[in-house]
Amino acid sequence: MKGKGCVAIASDRRFGVQTSTLAMDFQRIFEMGPHLYVGLPGLATDTLTVHERLRFRLNLYELRESRKIKPQTFSAMVSNLLYERRFGPYFVEPVIAGLDPVTWEPFISAMDLIGCPNVPEDFVVAGTCAEQLFGMCEALWEPNLEPDSLFETISQALMNAFDRDAISGWGGIVHVM
């Protein structure tokens, strides 16, 4: 979700195989820079693979360019990685949240599994309870939320949405930048 000079990204913590829960502290949101986080909901093996591949490409980029990547460029990088496997895709639907390293503009974007970018002004959602999240976010999000209010809004949206999804839950983690 976007706020006033800040962004927040949140996910649940459950890792399971259909109805069996295997872990309650699974990490889906990865830090790609001090002001850049990417969430990778979907098939857990692809979450880990895409994270590793992204980290490799990002490191190469930062070595070549000697600067921190912009969130828009990172979004294009993720989109490219996913579209390369257009005919045999990774089953993840990334969500990217970050602040521009120079202007500190908040940026959020989401992608489908083959890399179609969606860059809105308000919020993005992904995962098995995406429909519930759409509903909660439409109701709760308002423009220009301060970081503390943004935290409350995103947490309540997430928790109430995954309470209505049997295979999501077991707590959430929120990163506010």
């Binding site: 089953f91 599994l113 083959i114």
Partner: protein, 276 residues
Amino acid sequence: MASTKVVNIPKGGFSFENCQRNNFMAKQGFPAPKAVKTGTTIAGFIFKDGVILGADTRATEGNIVADKNCFKLHYMAPNIYCAGAGTAADLEMTTLQMSSQLELHRLNTGRQVKVATATRLLKQMLFRYQGHIGAALVLGGIDSSGPHVCCIYPHGSTDSLPFVAMGSGSLAAMAFLESGWKPDMELAEAKVLMRNAICGGIFNDLMSGSHVDLCIITREKAEMIRPFEVANVKGERQGSYRYPLGCTATLSTRVIPIEIESTVVRPVAEESMDTA
């Protein structure tokens, strides 16, 4: 990664490494997530001074609206724009790729790109993938031989016509175009007709919606009007649903201060050109 000693620098182009695994999983009954499609109503036609393209702004993922204000009019060349319907990722990537090919072509030949070149490049690429790249396009532009509008189907066939409509709302849009289009329309009339055609799609097709975007290409310039009309205004929120601060129960909080390297503002004086 195949080997830890050989670094796997990614090559360009499509990679088919996951296909076998994905087929196996599909047989096991894994419900794969759906790709975003742009259900869409797109249309284009020729008017007196050039070409006008129009599109709605809804992107769907199954039956959910994934993006209420997505951009379907893609830049190809300064004198050529393209409206796209079909699988959103395919449209985005195909038009970006074609746009860079056209720019290279323009630099190579030193001439303005012809619409026929863009059409030919696109149809050859789409035919190569036998329709698996789900991109249905309405290409419009103006070049030395006049204004052209062309529709390109995902399997690679093309039709060059005075007016076209594509997408799930094409029947509604075509109804308006068939009854309203005449040769040599003025710009104002053309805008109204295009607006009617796209709104016909928006209000009668469930997979098209939100607003109307227009692109008007004439000899002098290409003008993008986004949105031309906000056909669906978002409802007024009646109350505020803000939660009081501190109501969310947290197990732990970690505040990580980030060191910002010092910022230096250095005004750069304008240097006069050295014409020695």
